[in-house]
Amino acid sequence: MTTTATTSADTGTEAPAVTAAARRKKLVPYWLLLPGILWLVVFFAAPLVYQASTSVQTGSLEEGFKVTWHFATYADALTEYYPQFLRSVAYSATATVLCLALGYPLAYLIAFKAGRWRNLLMVLVIAPFFTSFLIRTLAWKTILSDGGPVVSALGSLHILDVTNALGVTEGHRVLATPLAVVCGLTYNFLPFMILPLYTSLERIDPRLHEAAGDLYATPLTTFRKVTFPLSMPGVVAGTLLTFIPATGDYINAELLGSTDQKMIGNVIQSQFLRVLDYPTAAALSFILMAAILAMVTLYIRKSGTEDLV
Protein backbone atom coordinates (compact mmCIF):
# COMPACT_ATOMS: atom_id res chain seq x y z
CA MET A 1 0.00 0.00 0.00
CA THR A 2 1.25 3.44 -0.76
CA THR A 3 1.43 5.96 2.00
CA THR A 4 1.79 9.68 2.18
CA ALA A 5 3.67 9.85 5.45
CA THR A 6 7.42 9.26 5.33
CA THR A 7 7.95 7.43 8.60
CA SER A 8 5.75 4.84 10.17
CA ALA A 9 4.77 6.18 13.52
CA ASP A 10 2.48 3.25 14.17
CA THR A 11 5.13 0.93 15.47
CA GLY A 12 7.65 3.40 16.87
CA THR A 13 9.08 2.46 20.24
CA GLU A 14 11.45 5.29 20.97
CA ALA A 15 10.20 7.98 23.22
CA PRO A 16 11.79 11.03 24.74
CA ALA A 17 11.88 10.94 28.49
CA VAL A 18 9.13 12.98 30.02
CA THR A 19 8.63 11.54 33.46
CA ALA A 20 10.86 10.25 36.20
CA ALA A 21 9.74 6.72 35.40
CA ALA A 22 10.77 7.15 31.81
CA ARG A 23 14.14 8.49 32.90
CA ARG A 24 14.64 5.47 35.12
CA LYS A 25 13.65 3.25 32.21
CA LYS A 26 16.38 4.88 30.16
CA LEU A 27 19.00 3.63 32.60
CA VAL A 28 17.86 0.01 32.37
CA PRO A 29 20.12 -0.96 29.45
CA TYR A 30 23.15 0.43 31.23
CA TRP A 31 22.46 -1.65 34.33
CA LEU A 32 21.99 -4.72 32.15
CA LEU A 33 25.28 -4.09 30.38
CA LEU A 34 27.34 -3.12 33.37
CA PRO A 35 28.46 -6.46 34.88
CA GLY A 36 29.19 -8.24 31.61
CA ILE A 37 30.91 -5.32 29.96
CA LEU A 38 32.94 -4.65 33.10
CA TRP A 39 34.05 -8.28 32.98
CA LEU A 40 35.19 -7.91 29.38
CA VAL A 41 36.91 -4.59 30.04
CA VAL A 42 38.83 -5.91 33.05
CA PHE A 43 39.68 -9.38 31.79
CA PHE A 44 39.82 -8.87 28.03
CA ALA A 45 40.51 -5.25 27.07
CA ALA A 46 42.75 -4.27 29.99
CA PRO A 47 45.03 -7.32 29.53
CA LEU A 48 45.49 -6.34 25.88
CA VAL A 49 46.64 -2.89 26.94
CA TYR A 50 48.85 -4.45 29.55
CA GLN A 51 50.23 -6.78 26.92
CA ALA A 52 51.03 -3.79 24.74
CA SER A 53 53.09 -2.24 27.50
CA THR A 54 54.81 -5.56 28.22
CA SER A 55 55.90 -5.81 24.61
CA VAL A 56 58.04 -2.69 24.95
CA GLN A 57 59.59 -3.70 28.27
CA THR A 58 63.08 -5.02 28.85
CA GLY A 59 64.57 -6.86 31.76
CA SER A 60 64.74 -10.35 33.10
CA LEU A 61 62.68 -12.52 35.34
CA GLU A 62 65.09 -12.05 38.25
CA GLU A 63 65.44 -8.26 38.01
CA GLY A 64 61.91 -7.55 36.84
CA PHE A 65 60.69 -5.89 33.65
CA LYS A 66 60.51 -2.16 32.97
CA VAL A 67 58.92 -0.16 30.20
CA THR A 68 61.83 1.11 28.13
CA TRP A 69 59.97 1.64 24.85
CA HIS A 70 62.16 -1.02 23.38
CA PHE A 71 60.45 -1.41 20.02
CA ALA A 72 63.35 -3.48 18.78
CA THR A 73 61.61 -6.47 20.36
CA TYR A 74 59.13 -6.31 17.50
CA ALA A 75 61.82 -6.20 14.86
CA ASP A 76 63.77 -9.01 16.52
CA ALA A 77 60.68 -11.14 16.90
CA LEU A 78 59.74 -10.67 13.27
CA THR A 79 63.20 -11.43 11.91
CA GLU A 80 63.54 -14.47 14.06
CA TYR A 81 60.07 -15.93 13.69
CA TYR A 82 58.78 -14.80 10.30
CA PRO A 83 58.91 -18.37 8.92
CA GLN A 84 56.48 -19.46 11.62
CA PHE A 85 54.23 -16.51 10.81
CA LEU A 86 54.15 -17.31 7.13
CA ARG A 87 53.67 -20.99 7.87
CA SER A 88 50.72 -20.26 10.17
CA VAL A 89 48.98 -18.17 7.54
CA ALA A 90 49.71 -20.71 4.80
CA TYR A 91 48.51 -23.69 6.85
CA SER A 92 45.36 -22.04 8.11
CA ALA A 93 44.48 -20.56 4.70
CA THR A 94 44.84 -24.04 3.16
CA ALA A 95 42.77 -25.56 5.95
CA THR A 96 40.09 -22.88 5.48
CA VAL A 97 39.82 -23.57 1.76
CA LEU A 98 39.65 -27.31 2.43
CA CYS A 99 36.97 -26.76 5.09
CA LEU A 100 34.91 -24.76 2.62
CA ALA A 101 35.35 -27.37 -0.11
CA LEU A 102 34.42 -30.23 2.20
CA GLY A 103 31.90 -28.43 4.38
CA TYR A 104 29.79 -26.82 1.67
CA PRO A 105 28.56 -30.09 0.11
CA LEU A 106 27.69 -31.45 3.55
CA ALA A 107 25.87 -28.28 4.61
CA TYR A 108 24.05 -28.29 1.25
CA LEU A 109 23.18 -31.95 1.66
CA ILE A 110 21.71 -31.37 5.12
CA ALA A 111 19.85 -28.21 4.12
CA PHE A 112 18.26 -29.40 0.88
CA LYS A 113 18.55 -33.15 0.41
CA ALA A 114 18.41 -34.77 3.83
CA GLY A 115 14.64 -34.72 4.29
CA ARG A 116 13.78 -36.54 7.47
CA TRP A 117 17.45 -37.38 8.11
CA ARG A 118 18.21 -33.70 8.58
CA ASN A 119 18.17 -33.71 12.37
CA LEU A 120 20.19 -36.91 12.62
CA LEU A 121 22.87 -35.53 10.31
CA MET A 122 23.02 -32.32 12.33
CA VAL A 123 23.53 -34.37 15.49
CA LEU A 124 26.34 -36.27 13.78
CA VAL A 125 28.05 -33.01 12.81
CA ILE A 126 27.81 -31.52 16.29
CA ALA A 127 28.32 -34.66 18.35
CA PRO A 128 32.12 -34.94 17.87
CA PHE A 129 32.30 -31.59 19.70
CA PHE A 130 31.44 -33.42 22.87
CA THR A 131 34.54 -35.56 22.85
CA SER A 132 37.53 -33.53 23.96
CA PHE A 133 39.18 -32.22 20.80
CA LEU A 134 42.60 -33.17 22.15
CA ILE A 135 41.54 -36.82 22.34
CA ARG A 136 40.18 -36.62 18.81
CA THR A 137 43.35 -34.98 17.55
CA LEU A 138 45.38 -37.73 19.16
CA ALA A 139 43.23 -40.23 17.24
CA TRP A 140 44.69 -38.79 14.04
CA LYS A 141 48.07 -40.07 15.24
CA THR A 142 46.59 -43.54 15.01
CA ILE A 143 44.86 -42.92 11.69
CA LEU A 144 47.93 -41.48 10.00
CA SER A 145 50.46 -43.74 11.73
CA ASP A 146 53.45 -44.94 9.72
CA GLY A 147 52.62 -48.15 7.90
CA GLY A 148 48.98 -47.88 8.91
CA PRO A 149 46.15 -48.63 6.44
CA VAL A 150 45.66 -44.98 5.42
CA VAL A 151 49.31 -44.34 4.67
CA SER A 152 49.71 -47.66 2.82
CA ALA A 153 46.65 -46.95 0.73
CA LEU A 154 47.90 -43.46 -0.14
CA GLY A 155 51.26 -45.01 -1.02
CA SER A 156 49.89 -47.71 -3.30
CA LEU A 157 47.60 -45.22 -5.04
CA HIS A 158 50.74 -43.09 -5.70
CA ILE A 159 49.11 -40.18 -3.94
CA LEU A 160 52.10 -39.98 -1.64
CA ASP A 161 54.34 -39.53 -4.68
CA VAL A 162 52.30 -36.49 -5.65
CA THR A 163 52.34 -35.02 -2.15
CA ASN A 164 56.05 -35.71 -1.86
CA ALA A 165 56.61 -33.83 -5.08
CA LEU A 166 54.57 -30.95 -3.66
CA GLY A 167 56.72 -31.03 -0.56
CA VAL A 168 53.89 -31.58 1.90
CA THR A 169 54.93 -35.12 2.83
CA GLU A 170 58.23 -36.92 3.08
CA GLY A 171 58.96 -40.49 2.05
CA HIS A 172 56.48 -42.97 3.38
CA ARG A 173 55.29 -40.77 6.22
CA VAL A 174 52.29 -38.54 6.71
CA LEU A 175 52.71 -37.86 10.40
CA ALA A 176 55.14 -35.07 11.22
CA THR A 177 54.58 -33.45 7.81
CA PRO A 178 52.67 -30.32 6.74
CA LEU A 179 49.95 -32.59 5.32
CA ALA A 180 49.24 -34.04 8.77
CA VAL A 181 49.03 -30.60 10.39
CA VAL A 182 46.71 -29.20 7.70
CA CYS A 183 44.63 -32.36 7.86
CA GLY A 184 44.28 -31.93 11.63
CA LEU A 185 43.44 -28.22 11.33
CA THR A 186 40.84 -28.95 8.67
CA TYR A 187 39.30 -31.65 10.82
CA ASN A 188 39.23 -29.54 13.98
CA PHE A 189 37.62 -26.47 12.45
CA LEU A 190 35.28 -28.14 9.96
CA PRO A 191 32.19 -27.86 12.22
CA PHE A 192 32.84 -24.10 12.57
CA MET A 193 32.52 -23.91 8.80
CA ILE A 194 29.53 -26.23 8.45
CA LEU A 195 27.27 -24.65 11.06
CA PRO A 196 27.16 -21.08 9.66
CA LEU A 197 26.95 -22.48 6.12
CA TYR A 198 24.00 -24.62 7.11
CA THR A 199 22.29 -21.72 8.86
CA SER A 200 22.42 -19.51 5.79
CA LEU A 201 21.55 -22.31 3.35
CA GLU A 202 18.60 -23.42 5.42
CA ARG A 203 17.08 -19.93 5.16
CA ILE A 204 16.96 -20.12 1.38
CA ASP A 205 13.46 -20.75 0.09
CA PRO A 206 13.60 -23.94 -2.02
CA ARG A 207 11.10 -22.32 -4.38
CA LEU A 208 13.94 -20.04 -5.49
CA HIS A 209 15.58 -23.11 -7.03
CA GLU A 210 12.36 -23.90 -8.86
CA ALA A 211 12.03 -20.30 -9.99
CA ALA A 212 15.59 -20.31 -11.32
CA GLY A 213 14.93 -23.58 -13.13
CA ASP A 214 11.73 -22.14 -14.51
CA LEU A 215 13.74 -19.20 -15.86
CA TYR A 216 16.00 -21.47 -17.90
CA ALA A 217 18.89 -21.86 -15.42
CA THR A 218 20.72 -25.20 -15.39
CA PRO A 219 21.32 -26.69 -11.93
CA LEU A 220 24.90 -25.41 -12.06
CA THR A 221 23.82 -21.89 -13.04
CA THR A 222 21.17 -21.98 -10.33
CA PHE A 223 23.89 -22.75 -7.83
CA ARG A 224 26.26 -20.07 -9.12
CA LYS A 225 23.68 -17.31 -9.53
CA VAL A 226 21.18 -18.04 -6.75
CA THR A 227 22.26 -20.47 -4.05
CA PHE A 228 25.88 -19.46 -3.60
CA PRO A 229 25.29 -15.68 -3.49
CA LEU A 230 22.53 -16.18 -0.94
CA SER A 231 24.80 -18.33 1.22
CA MET A 232 27.55 -15.67 1.25
CA PRO A 233 26.89 -14.63 4.88
CA GLY A 234 27.49 -18.23 5.91
CA VAL A 235 30.62 -18.48 3.77
CA VAL A 236 32.04 -15.30 5.29
CA ALA A 237 31.21 -16.29 8.86
CA GLY A 238 32.47 -19.82 8.31
CA THR A 239 35.80 -18.78 6.81
CA LEU A 240 36.39 -16.30 9.63
CA LEU A 241 35.45 -18.83 12.31
CA THR A 242 37.89 -21.26 10.70
CA PHE A 243 40.75 -19.01 9.68
CA ILE A 244 41.13 -16.98 12.87
CA PRO A 245 41.43 -19.79 15.40
CA ALA A 246 43.41 -21.96 12.97
CA THR A 247 46.08 -19.26 12.58
CA GLY A 248 46.64 -19.05 16.31
CA ASP A 249 46.37 -22.78 16.90
CA TYR A 250 49.37 -24.70 18.17
CA ILE A 251 47.84 -28.01 19.15
CA ASN A 252 47.75 -29.61 15.72
CA ALA A 253 51.31 -28.55 14.96
CA GLU A 254 52.44 -29.87 18.33
CA LEU A 255 50.64 -33.22 18.20
CA LEU A 256 50.73 -34.04 14.49
CA GLY A 257 53.77 -32.12 13.28
CA SER A 258 57.50 -32.06 13.97
CA THR A 259 59.77 -29.12 14.78
CA ASP A 260 59.67 -28.20 11.09
CA GLN A 261 55.93 -27.55 11.24
CA LYS A 262 55.89 -25.24 14.28
CA MET A 263 53.38 -22.43 13.94
CA ILE A 264 53.37 -19.02 15.58
CA GLY A 265 51.13 -20.29 18.38
CA ASN A 266 53.82 -22.78 19.37
CA VAL A 267 56.38 -19.98 19.54
CA ILE A 268 54.20 -17.74 21.71
CA GLN A 269 53.39 -20.62 24.00
CA SER A 270 56.99 -21.66 24.48
CA GLN A 271 58.23 -18.07 24.87
CA PHE A 272 55.61 -17.47 27.52
CA LEU A 273 55.46 -20.75 29.38
CA ARG A 274 58.98 -22.17 28.91
CA VAL A 275 61.47 -19.43 28.01
CA LEU A 276 59.58 -16.90 30.18
CA ASP A 277 60.54 -14.13 27.74
CA TYR A 278 57.34 -12.14 28.27
CA PRO A 279 58.21 -9.13 26.06
CA THR A 280 58.86 -11.36 23.05
CA ALA A 281 55.69 -13.36 23.68
CA ALA A 282 53.73 -10.12 23.98
CA ALA A 283 55.24 -8.66 20.83
CA LEU A 284 54.49 -11.85 18.89
CA SER A 285 50.89 -11.85 20.17
CA PHE A 286 50.49 -8.28 19.05
CA ILE A 287 51.91 -8.90 15.62
CA LEU A 288 49.63 -11.92 15.23
CA MET A 289 46.60 -9.98 16.42
CA ALA A 290 47.33 -7.03 14.17
CA ALA A 291 47.92 -9.26 11.18
CA ILE A 292 44.69 -11.17 11.73
CA LEU A 293 42.63 -8.04 12.36
CA ALA A 294 44.02 -6.49 9.19
CA MET A 295 43.26 -9.57 7.13
CA VAL A 296 39.79 -9.95 8.61
CA THR A 297 38.91 -6.29 8.10
CA LEU A 298 40.04 -6.44 4.51
CA TYR A 299 38.13 -9.64 3.94
CA ILE A 300 34.93 -8.36 5.55
CA ARG A 301 35.10 -5.15 3.60
CA LYS A 302 35.60 -7.05 0.37
CA SER A 303 32.76 -9.45 1.00
CA GLY A 304 30.49 -6.66 2.14
CA THR A 305 29.02 -8.22 5.26
CA GLU A 306 29.74 -6.30 8.42
CA ASP A 307 26.92 -7.45 10.62
CA LEU A 308 28.48 -10.44 12.30
CA VAL A 309 27.59 -9.88 15.94
Binding site: V28, P29, L32, L33, P35, G36, I37, W39, L40, V41, F43, F44, A45, P47, L48, Y50, Q51, L102, G103, P105, L106, L109, I110, K113, N119, L124, A127, P128, F130, T131, S132, F133, L134, I135, R136, T137, L138, A139, T142, I143, S145, Y187, L190, I194, I244, P245, G248, D249, Y250, I251, I268, Q269, F272, L273, Y278, A281, S285, F286, L308, V309
Partner: protein
Protein backbone atom coordinates in the same frame (compact mmCIF):
# COMPACT_ATOMS: atom_id res chain seq x y z
CA UNK B 1 29.62 -46.48 -18.24
CA UNK B 2 27.65 -43.41 -19.18
CA UNK B 3 24.92 -44.25 -16.69
CA UNK B 4 27.56 -44.56 -13.99
CA UNK B 5 29.03 -41.12 -14.73
CA UNK B 6 25.55 -39.64 -14.87
CA UNK B 7 24.68 -41.21 -11.54
CA UNK B 8 27.95 -39.89 -10.12
CA UNK B 9 27.27 -36.40 -11.37
CA UNK B 10 23.77 -36.34 -10.03
CA UNK B 11 24.84 -37.60 -6.64
CA UNK B 12 28.17 -35.80 -6.36
CA UNK B 13 26.91 -33.51 -3.60
CA UNK B 14 25.59 -36.44 -1.61
CA UNK B 15 28.80 -38.43 -2.03
CA UNK B 16 31.12 -35.57 -1.06
CA UNK B 17 28.82 -34.62 1.81
CA UNK B 18 28.80 -38.14 3.18
CA UNK B 19 32.57 -38.29 2.68
CA UNK B 20 32.96 -35.17 4.80
CA UNK B 21 30.70 -36.69 7.42
CA UNK B 22 32.93 -39.77 7.43
CA UNK B 23 35.98 -37.54 7.86
CA UNK B 24 34.27 -35.90 10.83
CA UNK B 25 33.24 -39.17 12.40
CA UNK B 26 36.42 -41.20 11.82
CA UNK B 27 38.38 -39.96 14.87
CA UNK B 28 35.40 -40.69 17.11
CA UNK B 29 35.27 -44.22 15.74
CA UNK B 30 39.00 -44.63 16.43
CA UNK B 31 38.62 -43.21 19.94
CA UNK B 32 35.82 -45.67 20.65
CA UNK B 33 37.59 -48.69 19.17
CA UNK B 34 40.83 -47.89 20.97
CA UNK B 35 39.04 -47.60 24.30
CA UNK B 36 38.92 -51.43 24.10
CA UNK B 37 42.62 -51.73 23.27
CA UNK B 38 45.30 -53.18 25.49
CA UNK B 39 48.45 -51.39 24.36
CA UNK B 40 51.90 -52.80 24.89
CA UNK B 41 53.74 -49.61 25.76
CA UNK B 42 52.70 -46.34 27.34
CA UNK B 43 51.06 -45.04 24.16
CA UNK B 44 47.70 -46.14 22.90
CA UNK B 45 48.29 -45.51 19.16
CA UNK B 46 48.49 -49.05 17.77
CA UNK B 47 45.93 -51.81 18.01
CA UNK B 48 47.08 -54.78 20.07
CA UNK B 49 44.22 -56.80 21.48
CA UNK B 50 40.69 -56.46 22.77
CA UNK B 51 40.24 -55.69 26.45
CA UNK B 52 37.65 -54.07 28.68
CA UNK B 53 40.17 -53.29 31.40
CA UNK B 54 39.95 -49.53 30.94
CA UNK B 55 36.14 -49.57 30.97
CA UNK B 56 36.01 -51.47 34.25
CA UNK B 57 38.51 -49.11 35.86
CA UNK B 58 38.03 -45.64 34.29
CA UNK B 59 39.70 -43.84 37.20
CA UNK B 60 42.62 -46.22 37.28
CA UNK B 61 45.09 -43.56 36.21
CA UNK B 62 46.38 -41.08 38.76
CA UNK B 63 44.80 -37.59 38.57
CA UNK B 64 42.54 -38.46 35.63
CA UNK B 65 39.20 -38.36 37.42
CA UNK B 66 40.32 -35.47 39.59
CA UNK B 67 41.03 -33.39 36.49
CA UNK B 68 37.72 -34.48 34.99
CA UNK B 69 35.71 -33.34 37.99
CA UNK B 70 37.63 -30.05 38.10
CA UNK B 71 36.80 -29.47 34.43
CA UNK B 72 33.15 -30.22 35.09
CA UNK B 73 33.01 -27.84 38.04
CA UNK B 74 34.68 -25.06 36.06
CA UNK B 75 32.40 -25.66 33.07
CA UNK B 76 29.27 -25.50 35.21
CA UNK B 77 30.25 -22.27 36.95
CA UNK B 78 31.53 -20.71 33.75
CA UNK B 79 28.25 -21.62 32.05
CA UNK B 80 26.20 -20.05 34.82
CA UNK B 81 28.33 -16.91 34.90
CA UNK B 82 28.55 -16.43 31.14
CA UNK B 83 24.84 -17.20 30.62
CA UNK B 84 23.65 -14.72 33.24
CA UNK B 85 25.96 -11.91 32.16
CA UNK B 86 25.56 -12.66 28.46
CA UNK B 87 21.76 -12.83 28.62
CA UNK B 88 21.65 -9.44 30.33
CA UNK B 89 23.82 -7.90 27.62
CA UNK B 90 21.78 -9.57 24.90
CA UNK B 91 18.56 -8.09 26.25
CA UNK B 92 20.13 -4.65 26.49
CA UNK B 93 21.33 -4.88 22.88
CA UNK B 94 18.16 -6.34 21.47
CA UNK B 95 15.64 -4.23 23.31
CA UNK B 96 17.12 -0.81 23.97
CA UNK B 97 18.67 2.02 22.06
CA UNK B 98 21.54 3.64 23.90
CA UNK B 99 24.77 5.46 23.33
CA UNK B 100 28.00 3.48 23.02
CA UNK B 101 26.04 0.72 21.35
CA UNK B 102 28.55 0.21 18.57
CA UNK B 103 31.52 0.18 20.95
CA UNK B 104 29.75 -2.46 23.02
CA UNK B 105 29.19 -4.54 19.88
CA UNK B 106 32.85 -4.22 18.96
CA UNK B 107 33.97 -5.21 22.45
CA UNK B 108 31.76 -8.30 22.18
CA UNK B 109 32.97 -9.17 18.71
CA UNK B 110 36.69 -8.92 19.44
CA UNK B 111 37.02 -11.96 21.75
CA UNK B 112 35.47 -14.08 19.00
CA UNK B 113 37.73 -12.58 16.34
CA UNK B 114 40.95 -12.96 18.30
CA UNK B 115 43.19 -16.02 18.34
CA UNK B 116 42.89 -17.73 21.69
CA UNK B 117 46.62 -17.69 22.22
CA UNK B 118 46.63 -13.88 22.21
CA UNK B 119 43.85 -13.61 24.80
CA UNK B 120 45.49 -16.34 26.83
CA UNK B 121 48.89 -14.66 26.93
CA UNK B 122 47.41 -11.22 27.65
CA UNK B 123 45.29 -12.36 30.55
CA UNK B 124 48.12 -14.42 31.98
CA UNK B 125 50.43 -11.38 31.78
CA UNK B 126 47.90 -9.36 33.75
CA UNK B 127 47.50 -12.03 36.39
CA UNK B 128 51.26 -12.47 36.66
CA UNK B 129 51.88 -8.79 37.21
CA UNK B 130 49.04 -8.43 39.69
CA UNK B 131 50.53 -11.29 41.64
CA UNK B 132 47.36 -13.37 41.41
CA UNK B 133 47.81 -17.06 42.23
CA UNK B 134 46.88 -19.18 39.22
CA UNK B 135 44.30 -21.89 39.77
CA UNK B 136 40.56 -22.51 39.80
CA UNK B 137 39.59 -18.84 39.98
CA UNK B 138 41.86 -17.61 37.21
CA UNK B 139 40.60 -20.39 34.94
CA UNK B 140 36.99 -19.56 35.76
CA UNK B 141 37.51 -15.85 35.11
CA UNK B 142 39.10 -16.61 31.75
CA UNK B 143 36.36 -19.04 30.74
CA UNK B 144 33.53 -16.66 31.56
CA UNK B 145 35.39 -14.01 29.57
CA UNK B 146 35.59 -15.97 26.34
CA UNK B 147 32.16 -17.66 26.63
CA UNK B 148 30.34 -14.37 27.16
CA UNK B 149 30.31 -13.23 23.53
CA UNK B 150 28.94 -16.55 22.32
CA UNK B 151 26.04 -16.41 24.78
CA UNK B 152 25.26 -12.84 23.72
CA UNK B 153 25.18 -13.87 20.05
CA UNK B 154 22.87 -16.82 20.67
CA UNK B 155 20.44 -15.03 22.99
CA UNK B 156 20.38 -11.79 21.03
CA UNK B 157 19.38 -13.56 17.82
CA UNK B 158 16.44 -15.14 19.63
CA UNK B 159 15.29 -11.97 21.39
CA UNK B 160 15.58 -9.94 18.19
CA UNK B 161 13.32 -12.34 16.33
CA UNK B 162 10.72 -12.12 19.09
CA UNK B 163 7.68 -9.96 18.35
CA UNK B 164 7.73 -7.01 20.80
CA UNK B 165 3.94 -7.08 20.69
CA UNK B 166 3.99 -10.28 22.74
CA UNK B 167 5.36 -8.40 25.73
CA UNK B 168 2.96 -5.54 25.13
CA UNK B 169 0.10 -8.03 25.00
CA UNK B 170 1.18 -9.45 28.35
CA UNK B 171 1.23 -5.99 29.92
CA UNK B 172 -2.10 -5.23 28.33
CA UNK B 173 -3.41 -8.41 30.01
CA UNK B 174 -2.49 -7.14 33.49
CA UNK B 175 0.97 -8.70 33.81
CA UNK B 176 3.39 -6.50 35.76
CA UNK B 177 6.77 -5.92 34.09
CA UNK B 178 8.27 -8.67 36.24
CA UNK B 179 5.46 -11.13 35.43
CA UNK B 180 5.82 -10.24 31.76
CA UNK B 181 9.49 -11.12 31.88
CA UNK B 182 8.89 -14.34 33.78
CA UNK B 183 5.82 -15.61 31.90
CA UNK B 184 6.44 -14.41 28.37
CA UNK B 185 9.90 -13.07 27.64
CA UNK B 186 11.91 -15.74 29.41
CA UNK B 187 10.00 -18.79 28.07
CA UNK B 188 10.21 -17.46 24.53
CA UNK B 189 13.90 -16.57 24.82
CA UNK B 190 14.64 -19.89 26.56
CA UNK B 191 15.81 -21.82 23.48
CA UNK B 192 18.36 -19.08 22.75
CA UNK B 193 19.53 -19.01 26.34
CA UNK B 194 19.76 -22.80 26.41
CA UNK B 195 21.77 -22.79 23.18
CA UNK B 196 24.14 -20.18 24.62
CA UNK B 197 24.52 -22.13 27.86
CA UNK B 198 25.19 -25.39 26.04
CA UNK B 199 27.78 -23.73 23.85
CA UNK B 200 29.43 -22.18 26.92
CA UNK B 201 29.57 -25.53 28.63
CA UNK B 202 31.13 -27.21 25.61
CA UNK B 203 33.63 -24.39 25.04
CA UNK B 204 34.65 -24.21 28.68
CA UNK B 205 34.89 -27.95 29.20
CA UNK B 206 36.98 -28.43 26.09
CA UNK B 207 39.19 -25.38 26.33
CA UNK B 208 42.88 -26.00 26.37
CA UNK B 209 44.81 -22.98 25.05
CA UNK B 210 43.49 -20.31 27.41
CA UNK B 211 43.41 -22.72 30.33
CA UNK B 212 46.99 -23.79 29.71
CA UNK B 213 48.20 -20.19 30.14
CA UNK B 214 46.08 -19.41 33.19
CA UNK B 215 45.99 -22.63 35.18
CA UNK B 216 49.33 -22.56 36.99
CA UNK B 217 49.81 -26.04 38.38
CA UNK B 218 46.10 -26.85 38.32
CA UNK B 219 45.28 -29.61 35.82
CA UNK B 220 41.98 -29.69 33.96
CA UNK B 221 40.93 -32.63 31.82
CA UNK B 222 42.18 -31.22 28.50
CA UNK B 223 45.48 -30.37 30.20
CA UNK B 224 45.69 -33.93 31.47
CA UNK B 225 45.21 -35.23 27.94
CA UNK B 226 47.83 -32.79 26.65
CA UNK B 227 50.29 -33.94 29.27
CA UNK B 228 49.57 -37.56 28.48
CA UNK B 229 50.46 -36.98 24.84
CA UNK B 230 54.00 -36.44 26.09
CA UNK B 231 54.13 -38.94 28.94
CA UNK B 232 51.99 -41.74 27.52
CA UNK B 233 48.31 -41.96 26.71
CA UNK B 234 46.30 -44.18 29.05
CA UNK B 235 43.38 -46.06 27.50
CA UNK B 236 41.16 -44.43 30.09
CA UNK B 237 41.12 -41.11 28.22
CA UNK B 238 39.52 -42.94 25.28
CA UNK B 239 36.98 -44.43 27.68
CA UNK B 240 36.07 -40.96 28.92
CA UNK B 241 36.01 -39.55 25.38
CA UNK B 242 33.68 -42.33 24.24
CA UNK B 243 31.43 -41.97 27.28
CA UNK B 244 31.14 -38.20 26.73
CA UNK B 245 30.23 -38.76 23.10
CA UNK B 246 27.62 -41.38 24.00
CA UNK B 247 26.04 -39.26 26.71
CA UNK B 248 25.86 -36.25 24.38
CA UNK B 249 24.27 -38.21 21.54
CA UNK B 250 21.78 -39.84 23.92
CA UNK B 251 20.82 -36.46 25.40
CA UNK B 252 20.23 -34.98 21.95
CA UNK B 253 18.21 -38.00 20.78
CA UNK B 254 16.14 -38.01 23.97
CA UNK B 255 15.51 -34.29 23.55
CA UNK B 256 14.32 -34.81 20.00
CA UNK B 257 12.08 -37.69 21.03
CA UNK B 258 10.47 -35.63 23.77
CA UNK B 259 10.06 -32.73 21.36
CA UNK B 260 8.42 -34.94 18.76
CA UNK B 261 6.02 -36.51 21.26
CA UNK B 262 5.07 -33.09 22.62
CA UNK B 263 4.40 -31.84 19.12
CA UNK B 264 2.21 -34.86 18.38
CA UNK B 265 0.02 -34.63 21.48
Amino acid sequence: MRTVTRWLRRNLVVLVGLGTLGYLMLPNVIVTVFSFNKPNGRFNYEWQRFSTDAWTDPCGVADLCGSLSLSLRIAIWATIGATVLGTMIAFALARYRFRARSSVSTLLFLPMAMPEVVMAASLATLFLNMGVTFGFWTILIAHIMFCLSFVVTAVKARVMSMDPRLEQAAQDLYATPFQTFLRVTLPIAAPGIAAGALLSFALSFDDFIITNFNAGSTVTFPMFVWGSAQRGTPVQINVIGTAMFAVAVLCVLAGQLVGRRRRRS
